[in-house]
Symmetry: C2
Subunit: 318 residues, 2 copies
């Protein structure tokens, strides 16, 4: 976690952030303290994945201090996710379509529960406790394995069936790499942390561990690395400029793995956005809550759906 | 007017749509009938332009049947316009910055009045009476002399200081033509009706009357005309794809002069948008109210600010 945050007093809750490869699970206690989440592998994509994920979460949670007292559950989920119906509309990585996660989670845990999109959960955490604190009109862009924005209008998430903010699937390079959405050269297939590593591997013939290594190679003068890094920053700048012009947000917060590049990303990104949209300055900020933002956002959601009148002294959970 | 519309029973109002070269003025009577607006030249850009515009409107209005009974005034204004403060933030064409039009209009007419952005006024008309009727999440893109979108979220205009929807000022071609915003190769400088005519004139050395003539030449096989038309459609498709991905609107309505090209625009535009964003289908619709949409939208706004308890039998206006 980049910054240590607390949620303040409230119901103890269980929170999980389901990623394409790893699931993070944490318990928030009555004081609002959230310890470092445990990480377990996400079960691979098959028809039973949704149920397997919930089993994985409750098995890992059993060992966490305070689990027996949790009063609500929050789960953040990847892909296209519709919070209004709590339905996982589509996940290419985990292989599901139209899964009613809301009902599954409530049946599994027999507790009040809320399901959210991982990107909007992380964004909610930034809005309440991080880089977007106090703002009402803001876009929080996550650039990690994928690229998506969470958009808040007047403090409320703009969801629209789970499709709002899916700017990662706009084509920026028609001759580019294939994208899980079925298209080619999408922003996500060009500029996500995963795409940067993949594209460099293809261009150089050398496998790298991730975008961080591509950046290090670019810094030491590797031409292919420099070219791929700067084309990724250009593509992101274009996507952000379009978003800024459309929404006129108070700020655009950029998080996810790529944001850890710091000034190597934010310096040229701000220059690129300003060059592409001059009418109104775009305020770019770096996300503050780091990789645990999704768990924190799920915990905030769980806190809000816990039954307020419930005593805090209930016995152990069956 | 492409389609004859009525506003239904209500207060008689005066409505004006101030354009860069021409101002349209109409009176809506108690039955909601709006006749064809009169058109007068907009006074040229100088420090007195705002006052001169109001004089022009009231002089032209004096001859319109029913003017002596109007109970409220609506004025649609170009440039960057902030409805929340009723301030004209910036108009390059008419040379103003930060003009308090709300106060000016109320003082001039001594009536309840509302000032609105021309693009959002036209969009409001499409939302209530035209192509976006019944929709709550919609973008209405006007492609005429300029390019801007009016964005409605949950039925409410998304204004944000007047800057929301200014997608015409995102660069689509860094080597492109200069734009009034100070940048180069903006969507507006590439794909507006005015830009299409200007760019064709420059490429061919032959002056044309407008984008319509460029389209006619493209149809008869003129290479420069075909190239410029299709680059404009591509640029619009890109802007619309970004807007669709960000907002996930129920529809994107396209109006303004260029929309009169009909299928020559909407056919390739839909193909271009779908090629650039496949995750969720983008529903494109053609605006229905034609060039009088701004006046109709201003009249709708005026109707809403008329004092409802006022008698409909008042004497003539001084």
């Amino acid at each position: 976690m980049t910054e240590q945050v607390g949620l303040g007093p409230g119901a103890p809750v269980l929170a999980a952030d389901v990623g394409g490869t790893e699931t993070k699970i944490g318990v928030v206690d009555e004081s609002g303290h959230i310890g470092p989440p445990v990480r377990v592998p996400t079960p691979p994509g098959d028809p039973d994945t949704p149920t397997a994920i919930l089993k994985t979460i409750s098995e890992a949670a059993r060992d966490l201090p305070g689990f027996d007292r949790v009063e609500a559950v929050g789960v953040a989920l990847p892909g296209v996710f519709d919070e209004d119906r709590e339905v996982g509309v589509w996940s290419e990585n985990l292989g599901w379509r139209d899964v009613d996660f809301g009902s599954l989670v409530r049946e599994h845990f027999r507790l009040p529960a809320v399901c959210a999109h991982d990107v909007r959960a992380a964004a909610l955490a930034e809005l309440r406790l991080g880089a977007a604190r106090g703002l009402r009109d803001v876009a929080v862009l996550t650039v990690g394995t994928g690229i998506a924005a969470a958009i808040f209008v007047d403090g409320r998430p703009h969801v629209r069936g789970g499709y709002a903010g899916e700017i990662g699937h706009v084509v920026v390079d028609p001759a580019g790499e294939p994208c899980p959405c079925g298209n080619r050269g999408c922003l996500e297939a060009t500029a996500s942390a995963a795409a940067i590593a993949r594209r460099y591997g293809k261009a150089s013939g050398e496998a790298v561990t991730g975008a961080r290594e591509v950046l290090e190679r670019a810094r030491s003068g590797d031409r292919a690395a420099k070219m791929i890094w700067s084309s990724a920053v250009d593509a992101l700048a274009s996507g952000i400029a379009h978003l800024s012009a459309a929404m006129a947000p108070q700020a655009i917060v950029v998080g996810g793995g790529l944001s850890e590049a710091g000034e190597d990303l934010f310096g040229p990104l701000q220059v690129g956005v300003d060059a592409r949209f001059r009418l109104r300055p775009t305020r770019l900020s770096r996300a503050r809550l780091g990789e645990d933002a999704g768990v924190i956002g799920a915990a905030i959601g769980a806190r809000e759906c816990a039954i307020p009148s419930r005593g805090r002294e209930g016995g152990p959970r069956p």
